[in-house]
């Protein structure tokens, strides 16, 4: 297939576009959000306030946002990639000066009606920027050192800013998403091998630096890693979250303790039960079946995104959709690993389920781009 074979007239126009949405994906998103409402209702002790109701409103808003974004042609969004990236970067800088401090880290800007977390936004705009970059870059150049270095800089600037907040979790996610996109774009594998080797060296160095004058991480971050490696060492202190979380998960058994019957969450043994640790409540109340079902829903969302991306012949659309899917995957995989005691507690919420406005809107915005890519995918003339 050549460029000339492409005909634009098969791209739907006007309100008809809505029929060409990736509806299975939209329904999956709604289903996951529905699980979230249910759990927020439960952890509030059987009440829509204070969490379930605002969350539903935000999801409705997010869904509308997704539709609006989906209606806009993907090539418009491609042209906006640079602007979006720079805006996010500016916001990240702004948060340094005007941000509110939450949990010992400067993370959000209070916009009055909502708290904006620029690092959340950055996850999407970085992927957009890189997708646009590889869309623009002639294929032959993509593995040349200079053209590899450029996207690396694009990734490292926001990573450095987020790390300064300090938010280790998000900066690692940014790094992973950016690196993942470069991998998808087809950058030569040798670069990745080199980076992985370097990372291994860096991790060793980070641990070597502990307790010395040039210590690279904050003490609490080291402690979190320690706790992760051996949570039992401090069951009432640092390891408390993970221990209680595992108890909640484990006590769910096959079928769970029943809706609103989870003692760990109801009696506040679980920390952050409506945000980062909401998955444990689900696992406690609906057991392995419930927890695995949610995992399956997430997997299906990824699957539908990947399927959409691979059938899309537009390079930007394809990369963007894959990047969004990767972001989403990292999001829930890190959260689940965290609550199941497989990763340090880094403060990553469960996408679409955890209570929180800014994360919800950013996720829906991202899927808006994926939908736009799906609606406006190039079609072969018949």
């Amino acid at each position: 297939m050549s460029y000339l074979e492409y005909t634009v007239k098969h791209v739907p126009t006007g309100p008809r576009k809505i029929l060409f949405l990736n509806w299975p994906l939209a329904l999956l998103l709604a289903a996951v959000a529905g699980v979230g409402f249910l759990m927020l209702y439960s952890v509030a002790g059987g009440s829509f306030s204070p969490w379930a109701e605002p969350q539903m409103k935000r999801f409705a808003l997010g869904f509308v946002l997704m539709l609006i974004v989906a209606m806009v042609p993907i090539w418009f969004w491609r042209s906006m990639a640079g602007v979006a990236y720079l805006t996010s970067l500016l916001l990240l800088v702004a948060v340094e000066f005007f941000g509110s401090v939450g949990m010992g880290a400067q993370r959000w800007i209070d916009l009055g009606f909502m708290r904006l977390q620029p690092s959340e936004l950055m996850k999407i705009t970085l992927v957009m920027m890189l997708a646009a970059y590889y869309d623009w870059l002639p294929i032959a150049r993509k593995s040349r050192p200079f053209w590899v270095l450029l996207p690396v800089v694009l990734i490292l600037i926001p990573v450095a800013l987020v790390l300064r907040q300090p938010d280790l979790g998000t900066s690692i996610l940014l790094l992973a998403a950016g690196g993942g996109l470069m991998f998808l774009a087809g950058v030569h594998w040798a670069y990745f091998a080199a980076v992985i080797a370097a990372a291994a060296g860096l991790i060793t160095t980070v641990f070597q630096s502990r307790g010395t004058e040039w210590q690279l991480l904050k003490d609490y971050q080291y402690r979190r890693i320690d706790t992760f490696l051996d949570p039992a060492s401090d069951p009432l202190g640092a390891g408390y979250h993970i221990t209680q979380s595992k108890i909640a998960l484990g006590s769910g058994g096959w079928t769970g303790r029943g809706f609103m019957q989870g003692t760990q969450s109801r009696l506040n043994f679980l920390p952050e039960k409506h945000t980062d640790f909401i998955f444990t409540t689900l696992a406690e109340e609906f057991g392995f079946i419930g927890a695995f079902s949610l995992l399956a829903l997430y997997a299906l969302i990824i699957l539908f995104c990947v399927a959409s991306a691979l059938t899309n012949k537009d390079r930007f659309s394809s990369l963007l959709t894959l990047g969004i899917a990767l972001n989403f995957f990292l999001f829930f995989a890190v959260n689940m690993s965290m609550v199941m005691g497989l990763a340090p507690v880094v403060g990553v919420p469960l996408p679409l389920v955890s209570y929180g406005g800014s994360a919800m809107l950013v996720v829906m915005l991202a899927f808006g781009f994926a939908q736009s890519a799906h609606v406006h995918r190039p079609r072969q003339g018949h």
Partner: protein
């Protein structure tokens, strides 16, 4: 607006390939998450379920109500009454300072207590009730309840507290309870969980402490669901505890109150014991104190006053006090000689007022001497020389052995604190303790209950009961536990010659009823209830030869601490003995003057169950007795305490 470009076929394949790799990695990770889920939720579910239950379920103990104590006729001696506390819950009070200010207008709050409570409140979780006032009266509580709307967070709490309705009459017998201290916990091996309850009351001394195990009962338990902060969310189930056993003492409350009142003003003690069953009808020590003070937590000023008092109100003199038995011991010396066949019929001894034994002169209390005396006269007139003579013939081994058979030198098994063993000296004892060999002079001293010999009033009562009954009767203080009669103190026959015992009893009868007897002044003239007894006056100092030459100083002229102890033991009725009585008045002077009248009054009170006719007293005493009885009845406490019982 740019149109979308279509990617080259080759590049699309590359992207697809890369996507497949990354997708594979993602899939593998999802698989790993699923496997982890399965591991936690399926394989280890039971273990985690258990941990979750441990998290949420707390066991709270329900303190059982303590067993109550009654006298032999069912008069309550130790009871549990509701006690009220005022507690404040911080999270409900908003401004604690203000609430306390309001509260102090209604109830008098101890500033120290408030300060402690405030400090405790700062440390505790906001939903925990903190006690601001304990042992609040019903009236104060009502005032607080009426003003409840103005006092957010203030709630009354009801608990049970120990009360001794007859107060000081039983201070030494029952002892008292108090909150468990760290010291108590240290002493107890593997303490009951109950003892960890703050302010839980346990017996500290006396019966309360000695039969603590029976009185305490078994804790009940509440299983409650708590949240992560420890707040109780709901009760899951409860198992009531088993209340402590109620018990009855052998004490007769009416008699005990009388005896206690009769002893007041002296530093004295008295024991009334049933000669056959061994039941202790009264066991009183004066001065006494109010045990209720200790339950509430005694002030240091009150406590100091009690410990500094030279009459030692805290000491339970009936069992803890040991005194040289003096002449009351003469029956033992005589019995030892009789049983050994060393006193022939009508054998007499000449008393010139002293006896020289191995070069040392031992004086009779009567310097002029008693002339020729036989056994009965020697006891009646309490001639010392007669017993010095017996002592030399009998020897200390037989005397001590006889003392032991009569219950001296033995720690009687009754549930009171610090029951003393007394002392019946032997040659070995002297060698091991004093590192000196026994000399015959020691035997001479022992024969009249002086020297090393020591006995408690309880032991003297037991001795007298055994003399009166000829049985190895043992004292008994607890009559029933949970309505079950406890083993009686009645014992086997002492195995002594009944003729010898009869001789002793007749001699004791003469002491009280013969015109020349030392206790004639304290006789009972009602024939049916005549009593037999023996006076004793035990020296607490050595009379030097110089003093003796100058004329022995009269007791009244000595400082209190150096005066003689006055003792008296008796049983009655003579014909068919019922009660044995022992009275010791510390530093009271002569036994016949200080102790015998008390013993006689007590005996009559016991025999007539509180209503002795004046006819039983010698004519010249009746006027005094009548007024005395009126006074004593007036000060007998009423066996009831205010309206709190019904509250």
């Amino acid at each position: 607006m740019k149109r979308p470009r279509v990617d080259t076929e080759a590049n699309h394949r590359l992207v697809t390939r890369r996507a497949a790799i990354l997708g594979g990695v993602q899939l593998a990770f999802v698989g790993a998450l699923g496997a982890r889920m399965q591991f936690l939720q399926v394989d280890q579910a039971d273990q985690f379920r258990l941990l979750a239950e441990e998290n949420r379920i707390n066991i709270r103990l329900i303190p059982p109500s303590r067993g109550e104590i009654f006298d032999r006729n069912g008069v309550p001696l130790a009871r549990n009454v509701p006690s009220y506390r005022i507690v404040i819950v911080r999270e409900d009070a908003n401004d604690v300072e203000e609430v306390v200010q309001e509260l102090s207008k209604l109830v008098s709050l101890d500033p120290g207590e408030v300060q402690r409570a405030m400090a405790e409140m700062k440390r505790s979780a906001p939903f925990l009730p903190i006690t601001f006032a304990d042992e609040v009266s019903w009236e104060d509580l009502s005032r607080v309840s009426v003003n409840a709307p103005a006092l957010p967070g203030v709630t009354p709490e009801v608990g049970l507290s120990r009360v001794y309705p007859l107060g000081s009459d039983y201070a030494h017998v029952l002892g008292y309870v108090g909150p468990v201290s760290d010291y108590d916990l240290e002493r107890i091996e593997d303490p009951d969980q109950l003892l960890r309850i703050p302010r839980f009351q346990i017996g500290k001394v006396g019966v309360e402490a000695k039969v603590e195990e029976n009185l305490r009962g078994k804790a009940g338990a509440r299983r409650v669901e708590v949240n992560a902060a420890g707040r109780v969310m709901r009760e899951l189930d409860r198992q009531e505890g088993i209340a402590g056993s109620d018990m009855q003492l052998t004490i007769d409350a009416k008699l005990q109150s009388y005896v206690q009142a009769r002893l007041s003003g002296e530093s004295a003690s008295a024991v009334v014991m049933d000669v056959r069953s061994g039941d202790l009808m009264a066991i009183a020590s004066a001065p006494t104190f109010d045990p209720n003070l200790f339950v509430r937590g005694i002030s240091s000023r009150d406590y100091k006053a009690l410990t500094k008092n030279k009459y030692r109100p805290l000491a339970s003199k009936t069992v803890q006090g040991t005194y040289p038995p003096g002449s009351t011991f003469k029956m033992i010396t005589a019995m030892a000689a009789l049983e050994a066949g060393l006193i022939g019929p009508d054998e007499t001894v000449y008393c010139p007022g002293h006896l020289t034994v191995s070069g040392r002169r031992f004086h009779c209390w009567k310097r002029a001497g008693h002339g020729w005396v036989d056994l009965e006269t020697s006891l009646k007139r309490s001639c010392d020389v007669y017993y010095y003579d017996l002592a030399v013939k009998v020897g200390i081994e037989k005397i001590t052995a006889m003392a032991n058979r009569f219950g001296l030198g033995e720690r009687h098994d009754i549930p009171m604190s610090a029951v003393a063993r007394g002392l019946t000296p032997t040659k070995d004892w002297k060698r091991s303790v004093h590192d000196q060999s026994w000399v015959v002079g020691d035997t001479v001293n022992a024969s009249i209950g002086q020297g090393f010999m020591l006995a408690s009033p309880l032991q003297l009562a037991v001795m007298t009961a055994r003399l009166a009954s000829g049985m190895a009767v043992k004292p008994r203080l607890i009559k029933t536990i949970d309505g079950i009669e406890q083993p009686s103190g009645a014992g086997e026959s002492l195995g002594m010659n009944e003729n010898n015992l009869r001789k002793m009893r007749r001699a004791m009868y003469a002491v009280v009823n013969d015109r020349r007897g030392t206790a004639y002044g304290s006789r009972i003239i009602e024939d049916a209830v005549r009593m037999a007894g023996k006076t004793g006056t035990s020296q607490v100092r050595n009379i030097t030869a110089a003093e003796r030459r100058a004329g022995v100083v009269r007791n009244e002229d000595l400082p209190w601490e150096r005066r003689d102890h006055a003792l008296f033991v008796n049983f009655a009725p003579y014909d068919e003995p019922k009660y044995a009585v022992a009275v010791v008045v510390e530093h009271g002077g002569g036994g016949s003057k200080a102790a015998a009248p008390i013993a006689r009054d007590v005996t009559l009170q016991a025999l007539y169950d509180g209503e002795p006719p004046l006819d039983a007293y010698p004519t010249k005493d009746r006027g005094r007795i009548e007024t005395q009885q009126q006074v004593l009845r007036g000060i007998q406490p009423v066996a009831n305490i205010s309206g709190r019982d019904q509250a």
